[in-house]
Symmetry: C2
Subunit: 230 residues, 2 copies
DNA sequence: CTCATGGCGATACACTGTATTTCTCCCTTA
DNA sequence: TAAGGGAGAAATACAGTGTATCGCCATGAG
C-alpha cells in the first residue's frame, strides 16, 4: 500500500482536555439550549467518539457543572470594588447578563452547590465585599439572601422571555389576550387582584425590574449591617 | 373457544383523565425524582400503553406543568390572613414545605410561568394580601421580589440537601473536610473570606435560614409600602 | 522483532419521547 | 341480523439518549 492511496487518516486523534470539551459543550448549549447538549454531539465537535469523553469527565452532570463554572468566569468583575453595595450590585448584574448571554444557565443556576474555582471565586467576592461589616453569620445570611434573590429573579426573567418567544407576542399582549388559560381564568372574576395587576400595571423593562428588586434586598442587607456593626 | 380458556382480559381499559395521570406521575416523582417520571412508567401505572396519554396531554412538559400546579394546591392556605406580612410569610413557608415534601419541585420552580389554576390562585393570594397598601406597580414589584427570593432560597436549600445526602455526611462535615475540591481550594488560601465563613460560621438549621432571609425581604417590602402609601 | 499495554473506536443495551400504523370492538344503518 | 363505518387503543417504529463492555491497533519496552 502506497502513501497516496492510504485511506486518508480521518483527522488524527487530537488530544483532548476538559477545556476543549467544555468549550464544545458551551457552544452547543448557546446554540440550542441545554437539551441540545448530548455527549455524542459534543464528541462529534471534537472529532471523537462519545466514549472518549469519559476519560475526562465522569458523567454528563459533571459536564454541566463545568459549564456553569465556565460561565461564572464571565461573572467575575475585572477590578475589585470597595463599596460593598456596589460590589454586590455589580456581581448580581454581571450574573444576570451572563444568563442572558447563555440562557440555559437559568436551568442550572442554583441547581447544585457551586464548587468550581470560578463559582468559589464569585462566592469569595461576595463574602469579602461584606467582610468586617458584620459578624460572620450575618455576612453569610446576607450573601445567601442576595444570592437567592438573584437566582430566583433570573430564572423568572428567562422563563418569561421564553414564554413570550414561544407565543411570538410581546409580554403585555401575551398576558392580556393570548394565553388561553390565563385570559379565561381572569374573565371568571375569580382573581381580581391578579386582573388588576395584569390590566392596570405598567410594564417596565426586565432590567429595571431586576435592579429595583435587587435594591430592595440590598436595602434590607444594609439595615442589618448597620444594626450589627454599630 | 369456551369461556375459561379465553386469554384472560388483562384489565379492561379503565377510562383515563388528567387527574389520574397527574396522580400517577406525582407518585412516581415523589418516589424517584423527576427523572423517574417517564411517559411509559406513568402509563404503566394506569395499565395503559404510553400513547394513551397523548389523548390527555400534548407533551411531557405539559405533564410537568400539571404536576407543578398540583403541588401549588398544597400551598394555598385554608384560611385567609388579614395581615399582609403574615399572609406572605405563610405562603412562602407553605411553598417551602411543599418543596420538601416533593423535592423535585425545586427543579421546576420558576422554570416557567405558573398559569395553572392553583398557581394563579397563589399569585392572587399574594397580590390581594398587598392590595390597597400601595400602587399596583409597587405591589407587583413586591410580589415579584418575594417570589424570586422564595424560589432561589428553596432551590439552594434542596441543592444542599441533595449534596449532603450524596456524600452521606452532615453539611458541616461535608464543607469542612470531604468535598475534595473545596477543601483543597480553601487550603490554597486563595479564598480567605470563604474560609472564614466555612470555618467560623455557625450553621443554623435551614428553616431558620429561610425564615430570616424571608424576613429581611419582607422588611424591605414593608419599607416601600409605608413610603408609597404615606 | 516481539510482546505487552493502554487508549480509542465500535458495538451493545436499556431506555427515552413521540409519530405512525394496525387492529379491535361497538354502534349505526340497511 | 348482517354489514359497514368509525373511534379509540395497542403495537410497532424511529431517532435519539447516557453509559458499559469489548476488541483492536499502534506504540512503547525488551
Amino acid at each position: 500500500m502506497t502513501v497516496w492511496d492510504r485511506p486518508e487518516p480521518p483527522d488524527r486523534p487530537v488530544p483532548l482536555d476538559r477545556e476543549r470539551i467544555v468549550a464544545a459543550a458551551l457552544s452547543l448549549a448557546d446554540e440550542g439550549g441545554l437539551e441540545a447538549v448530548s455527549l455524542r454531539k459534543v464528541a462529534a465537535r471534537l472529532n471523537a467518539g462519545p466514549m472518549r469523553l469519559y476519560g475526562y469527565i465522569a458523567t454528563k452532570e459533571e459536564l454541566f457543572d463545568l459549564l456553569v463554572d465556565e460561565v461564572y468566569a464571565e461573572v467575575l468583575p475585572e477590578e475589585r470594588t470597595d463599596e460593598w453595595r456596589e460590589a454586590l450590585r455589580t456581581l448580581a448584574h454581571r450574573t444576570r447578563r451572563a444568563a442572558l448571554r447563555h440562557e440555559w444557565l437559568a436551568d442550572l443556576l442554583g441547581g447544585r452547590p457551586t464548587l468550581g474555582p470560578n463559582g468559589l471565586a464569585v462566592a469569595e467576592a461576595m463574602l469579602s465585599a461584606l467582610d468586617g461589616l458584620a459578624d460572620v453569620d450575618t455576612v453569610m445570611r446576607a450573601v445567601g439572601t442576595v444570592n437567592a434573590y438573584v437566582i430566583g429573579a433570573i430564572r423568572g426573567e428567562i422563563a418569561n422571555l421564553r414564554a413570550e418567544r414561544a407565543t411570538g407576542l410581546s409580554k403585555r399582549d401575551w398576558q392580556r389576550a393570548a394565553g388561553p388559560r390565563l385570559s379565561r381564568a381572569l374573565a371568571t372574576g375569580a382573581f381580581p387582584a391578579l386582573s388588576k395587576a395584569v390590566y392596570d400595571g405598567t410594564d417596565v423593562d426586565p432590567e429595571t425590574t431586576f435592579a429595583t428588586g435587587l435594591d430592595w434586598v440590598l436595602d434590607a442587607v444594609a439595615a442589618k449591617l448597620t444594626r450589627s456593626s454599630a
